[in-house]
Subunit: 691 residues, 2 copies
Amino acid sequence: PSIMFRKYQWLLKNIDTDSEVISGVQEEDYWELISTTRIRIVSFILQNIKIQRTKENLHDLIKKKVFETAFPLHERENLGAFLKMNWARWRDILYTQPIEQIRTYFGEKVALYFAWLGWYTCILFVAAVPGIILAIYGLISFNSSQISKEICAANTTMMCPLCDQKCPFWPLSETCTYAQVTHLLDNEGTVLFAIFMAVWATVFLELWKRKRAEVVSNWKLYLWDEEEEELAMELINSPETASPLHQHSYIRSTVVLILVGLMICVIIGIAHALVIYRVVVTVIFTQSGSEFFRERASTMAVMTGAVLHYLTIIIMSKVNRHVALYLCDMEKPRTFTEREKNFTVKLFTFQFFTHFSSVIYVAFFLGRINGRPGDYVRVGGKWRLEECHPSGCLVDLFIQMAVIMTLKQTLSNFVEFMLPWIRYKYKLLFRNPKSNNRVHMEESARDPCKEEWLWNYNLNEVNVFSLFDEFLEMMIQYSFTTIFVAAFPLAPLLAFINNLIEIRLDAIKMVRLQRRMVPRTANDIGTWLLILEAIGILAVIGNGMVIAITSDFIPMQVYKYTSSPCIQKNYTGIDCLTGYVNYSLSVFNVQDFANHENLPERKDPMGNVITHCRYRDYRNNEDYSHTVEFWHILAARLSFLILFEHVALCIKLIAAWFVPDVPRGIKNLHLQEKRERLLKRLRRMDDSTEV
Amino acid sequence: PSIMFRKYQWLLKNIDTDSEVISGVQEEDYWELISTTRIRIVSFILQNIKIQRTKENLHDLIKKKVFETAFPLHERENLGAFLKMNWARWRDILYTQPIEQIRTYFGEKVALYFAWLGWYTCILFVAAVPGIILAIYGLISFNSSQISKEICAANTTMMCPLCDQKCPFWPLSETCTYAQVTHLLDNEGTVLFAIFMAVWATVFLELWKRKRAEVVSNWKLYLWDEEEEELAMELINSPETASPLHQHSYIRSTVVLILVGLMICVIIGIAHALVIYRVVVTVIFTQSGSEFFRERASTMAVMTGAVLHYLTIIIMSKVNRHVALYLCDMEKPRTFTEREKNFTVKLFTFQFFTHFSSVIYVAFFLGRINGRPGDYVRVGGKWRLEECHPSGCLVDLFIQMAVIMTLKQTLSNFVEFMLPWIRYKYKLLFRNPKSNNRVHMEESARDPCKEEWLWNYNLNEVNVFSLFDEFLEMMIQYSFTTIFVAAFPLAPLLAFINNLIEIRLDAIKMVRLQRRMVPRTANDIGTWLLILEAIGILAVIGNGMVIAITSDFIPMQVYKYTSSPCIQKNYTGIDCLTGYVNYSLSVFNVQDFANHENLPERKDPMGNVITHCRYRDYRNNEDYSHTVEFWHILAARLSFLILFEHVALCIKLIAAWFVPDVPRGIKNLHLQEKRERLLKRLRRMDDSTEV
């Protein structure tokens, strides 16, 4: 108990006494912000001070249980006054955030996070509108779509079985409903929308840079230099100790590079393992003795696969964090900022692969590396790979995205909010009496103050990575929203809704459920900007590939301009895509199945024996080699990809040039300031020469 | 005459008196450099000062012929002492340059140019070595090349005529020699070399950044700020006048963007016009009455085309300059630096297209958009487009590159050096007597001094763009060296040799033939770094496209892995490319020529009548539509391009990360400096609080 008390005293004492030291080194602008600056300095000193005898610092002492914890206190009146007013409350979901107040209370770093998040949410709205329009257009027009009509009418077109065991031949018309969903995505609008989103991502970044310049300029932090501040802190703390130097070694870089590569391989390997797990488990269930398992084999496999996937993501997130931290320490970063920067890039890369490798598999590999009927690619020579959804591979991607953007987001928001809440309530219920007792054992002169401390103590712990996690979450969301937007135009809308909630969740969490963070100064969002730019480029590649490879947009265009009725002279008034469904299906002779004797039921709905089945590919029906159409379409897909990438990147480049990073007004302001500073110096010189 | 004298006096007076003003505003480090700084300040004041009555500045007065010119003087002892010693002399071609001395004499900007050029030349040597090895490997192995052998032996394979008029059928074996040249370029080594060059370009940039950091840090200009200096100059000149503000308007940006687009279209249009000129002129010459013209039609067309091309480049260079200047002024840049930056980007873009559009045509379009025998694409329905060189389109590119890298470079160096030299000699011969007379008419007390002035006056004029032009020339060379290096591996070697000469040429020109430049401070090479980076990316795209589209590398691989004897079981010990030549040629039935009655001689060397001829394409011999092979190869080409681009860009990215921009030592140095500055401030504060 006395230890806890000592800790509080420490905190208080330091806050009161150090302010004089601060004032000289920091710029005069800092005066107004004194409370956050104070906390920062005290925290720095606490972290770095060493006890003379044992050379232990605070971190060691907390480890040794001498202190339990150290954290800055909330200020109730501030909390109540402006934050809750129109920020940390659910009903204010559409209000603008009081960035200035957040800054004075939580420091610049947190304020910038909220400013960024608010801005991102605003801009998401701009992207959500065309997304909705595209979806509505798809919905309206799908009745008139020639392809859906043909698919729905094709009840005599028998398709080849989708798996080895117990899968029947099936009429194409079964996929009628999903064909309409596909049409929702697979129209010309999608290409435009994808280009729009590529430009949107760039413009978003540029506008954010402007916004940031404005905000930071208001705070007079434009020329602020993180390195300088850290040096200043070190000097205040102890002017004698030399600050650590930059370190760099090519060997270390190489090792880190190789380890990062290995880690990425492991993550991708896990995704592959999951795919193989599903394939194998389906077969095992089908062949198992139990009737129950046999019936639900494929569903069971998918369900357990999904659960496993979720578990791997959770476990890998923890593993990634440790690996990234380990690699960071290996690089021996000089300062905390540098460490954070390295950590950010590494952890984001790992998390990106963890979250995306399965989506990438679904988008670009699922069903494309399966071989053909009669000669399927088999894992270990035995298990046939999964096929795409009967209605096309885009549907798989669509479903995957829909699940991620709705279920997973909701779930993770819920967990993120409820976990601290439950922990807080738990502490209140079970710990309070105990610690109350302890406190009551001592004489307590200033009761209200101590009560405050206890209230603070009972809140959830925060660490330096709390804000980092919020950012990481948003970046993963941003990646999903932009990279596969061509497959799921509603992604911006869902992200928008999620973010409206997210802002308030984070606000409430910070104000009511967590201890106050050590405020930190910042004049930009740091490495995250770099990551946003990288995602912007990946978005161009990703969307290009979805349109070129996953969707049927290109084959349709090729059909339209090479073999559709439109280009023949006599035909008029017929939809150009008439016959496309037939064109896109190859014929397989059932006799060529290796085990064609023990195939499932071989009657079609009309009762005729099935001699041929169809499958999605472009092969001839003799030796099943690829036809001219196959190569033609492949060439078209690749040309489209190249064209799309280069055009979209050019547009991005021009957009980035077109919108200046810093608004003119702010530039002029800085110019003016610089000029005045120089003028002052000139006058001082004149004075001194005159005297 | 009195005007001239006044001008000199002006110069002298200002140099002597202004030094006091300088000292205060500039950092104390500037003291040592006083002569260049002095000149700069005087020049600035001269440029900006206005005569009270008429509001005219120096520029107006020179226009009005009140002054003839204004320039700083050379210092003979400096010139003689260190520059000529081991820099501006031919025999010192391999010595390192005395960058420090250049800096103290010509200012930082010129010194950085020479530092960059020297560094570039060093690094070119690294690229030249594998280029030479590749060429030697090609030379050694071309006797064993299966394809050359087959082509040389194919004297019964009759090829279709290359033009409409008077072109005969020709046996494939005619191109035997060139087939060997092609082999020199078209081997697996080229792909590796292209990737190597992509990485080379990145590493070059990164190493230059390190080098620059070192150099600039030695000069103590690391934190120097151009904007601040300009403001300081303005303040020294007249502390009252407000400095101009930043301006920006989206409408202006849009107009500039559109105009730049138009200009690029015009430039590309000119290149097209030249192509059509050649096509049309060939036909006109062939059909002309004169025997002489008819015989040499194609040669004449190519020769006049080349001359025209050279003329357009010269004319367009001037036009581009004016357009770029005009567009720059339209954007209303605030300062000279900003103006230079805008101008650089625009002029480089224009010059790039002027120089490259014809090379791009040769590399990617020539011979690919010609249709097929019997159905050629014709300009205006009449004139058939040019065909590639009989031995393949890569040879055209190779020849073009060889001409540019040897002839054109030599020529432009020669012109660049001789023009000032002749002008100087001319002035000495014709002007000297006259101006000598004038001077003698006045009383001349300090004769040696005046003699100096006269010597300086007779040297060639320099303007602010002199250095700019040198940079521009080097950038165009760098573009040629990197972007099409896959077609001409000797480019780095030739550029290396050229640069060795170029350094000394520039040095001699500056020291002996031109007036001294107004020294300018700089701490990097400015926009050129950006352009170098852009060229680095273009190089990846360019080389990828040359290998994928221009060369026969991909078709050979496709042949090897799909239909060569190697993949058949029985064949062993046969070169995998056996039969490739036959595979790559399509068959055309001579009967299908529209005008097959009046075709040229239709006997092959054996005396048989030709019924079929061959042409380079993949079409079937019935309806001449593209075969599976065509689409297969096209798909392979495009996949290769995509793969190459992404892999090369990834490697570039990793290389850029791997090599830090600033060496560790320098980083630590700056850290130390910063720390000491802060420490000093802290002590000062302590002192003041104690007192």
